[in-house]
């Protein structure tokens, strides 16, 4: 790792001020940034630790409205009793990221800001129609995730929280890579007042995406059987040593069936 300067601001304003320095990066749980720094894929002049800013932490559930602070760990999302009551699918998702030690450090804000094409959370944000709240504005999830490791965040902008209305039913199913536990394909389904939304991570060439063919089939019947015979084109699917694009296209439908079954369970 190249030399860097560590900062621990106590407020968003202080963090934003520190970020003006040339090559600064925000640090949350560090589960991606620190490995990237160790391999010198990232070499920020300054790292600004956001995890000691009180307003970025915690889960608030008010009726069906959910707000999760950006610096809330996967462990704390997975084990939040109120969240489990209104949207158990997101707790299930958080409980299957990485391993226990990673979940104790990694955060939802870090995950979505990094927008790894195989990360779990982006699919939930998209299917739940979440709003990403930053220190400057509010961004709809569909406008937030713009490509591989790319988001709508501007230089120095900080994700404060994510907000969504808990749907009537939701489920998440992923086929984890046997070594890394990242999603080789993960599907989040949500059925709410405005229909069924299905978002896929780990499979798309351009990162997380909505599977509109599957949404249309599930709008006719929210049941795994409704997806019998539905196929997804392999064009636009990732292909790597773990799985071909055809394999992933098939996995999308299989995981969607399992996610619907989980939502109904």
């Amino acid at each position: 790792m190249y030399a860097t300067n560590y900062h621990r601001p106590k407020s968003l304003a202080e963090a934003a001020e520190l970020a003006r320095s040339a090559d600064a990066k925000y640090l949350s749980g560090g589960m991606t940034l620190i490995p990237a720094m160790k391999t010198r894929l990232a070499a920020p002049s300054d790292v600004i630790d956001l995890t000691h800013i009180a307003e970025l932490k915690g889960v608030t559930v008010s009726g069906r409205s959910v707000t999760i602070g950006a610096a809330t760990t996967h462990f704390d999302v997975a084990n939040n009793a109120e969240l489990k009551r209104v949207c158990p699918a997101i707790c299930h998702l958080a409980a299957h990221i990485g391993d226990p030690h990673v979940r104790h450090r990694g955060t939802i804000g870090g995950s979505i800001s990094n927008n790894d094409p195989a990360a779990d959370y982006p699919s939930a944000m998209l299917a739940l129609d979440a709003i990403i709240v930053t220190d400057r504005r509010e961004i709809a999830a569909q406008d937030f995730f713009t490509g591989l490791f790319e988001t709508a965040l501007e230089d120095g902008e900080i994700v404060k929280a994510v907000r969504f209305d808990a749907p009537e039913k939701a489920g998440y199913a992923k086929f984890p890579n046997p070594a890394s536990r990242y999603a080789m394909t993960g599907v989040f389904v949500a059925r709410g007042g405005d229909g069924v939304k299905v978002a896929v991570t780990g499979a798309g060439d351009n990162g997380v995406f909505r599977a509109t063919d599957i949404e249309a089939a599930l709008a006719r019947g929210f049941d795994p059987a409704a997806l019998q015979g539905v196929t997804i084109p392999a064009d636009g699917m990732m292909s790597d040593l773990h799985a071909s694009s055809e394999y992933r296209a098939n996995l999308v439908v299989v995981m969607a069936k399992r996610a619907v079954a989980a939502a109904l369970a």
């Binding site: 790792m1 190249y2 030399a3 860097t4 300067n5 560590y6 621990r8 640090l27 560090g30 589960m31 620190i34 490995p35 720094m37 160790k38 790292v47 630790d49 995890t51 462990f75 990485g98 391993d99 226990p100 030690h101 990673v102 104790h104 450090r105 070594a179 890394s180 536990r181």
Partner: protein, 162 residues
């Protein structure tokens, strides 16, 4: 450089460290606590697991500066003098190791796992919870046995104490 102060195994420690120093290197090279191992150095194997503020973490994937102000527990801090911690005793009793390289991380992961499951553990849960700890010798069977035995022993102890 950062001046950091933390509590390691119950002892106050202050030091001046390079900001890029990893927690595991701080423990091993600055404090001489070499029980915490560096295995893969890529956040996968879990040989470096320690507890920070009561939660298991991979100390190869955390800066020492991030632990400023925290309480850290390493394998050296588990035993009570000459008396092994119940998880350590169970690993010995059930031969939960062969080469022993992964063992400190396994034991720190196990104590955290047992704390998080006061309702008790079954084999399936233990195996799932060990996802972040790799052992290349044992095939895990005796590690799982040891953790189950320790969980039971500790539950019994707590019941007796209550």
């Amino acid at each position: 450089m950062s001046d950091i102060s933390l509590v390691v195994n119950g002892r106050n420690v202050s030091a001046s460290v390079e900001d890029r120093t990893l927690l595991v290197n701080f423990l091993r090279e600055h404090l001489g606590l070499t029980g915490t191992h560096v295995g893969c150095d890529t956040s996968q194997c879990g040989a470096c697991v320690v507890h920070v503020d009561g939660r298991s973490v991979k100390s190869c994937t955390m800066l020492a500066a991030q632990a400023d102000g925290a309480a850290v527990l390493t394998i050296e801090g588990l035993a009570d003098g000459a008396t092994l911690h119940p998880v350590q005793a169970a690993f010995r009793e059930h031969h939960g190791l062969q080469c022993g390289f992964c063992t400190p991380g396994m034991i720190m992961a196990a104590t955290d796992m047992i704390r998080r499951h006061p309702e008790g553990l079954d084999e399936k849960t233990v195996r799932a919870e060990l996802e972040g700890n790799i052992c290349r010798c044992t095939g895990y069977h005796n590690i799982v046995k040891a953790i189950l035995a320790a969980a039971q022993a500790m539950a019994g102890g707590a019941a007796k104490a209550a």
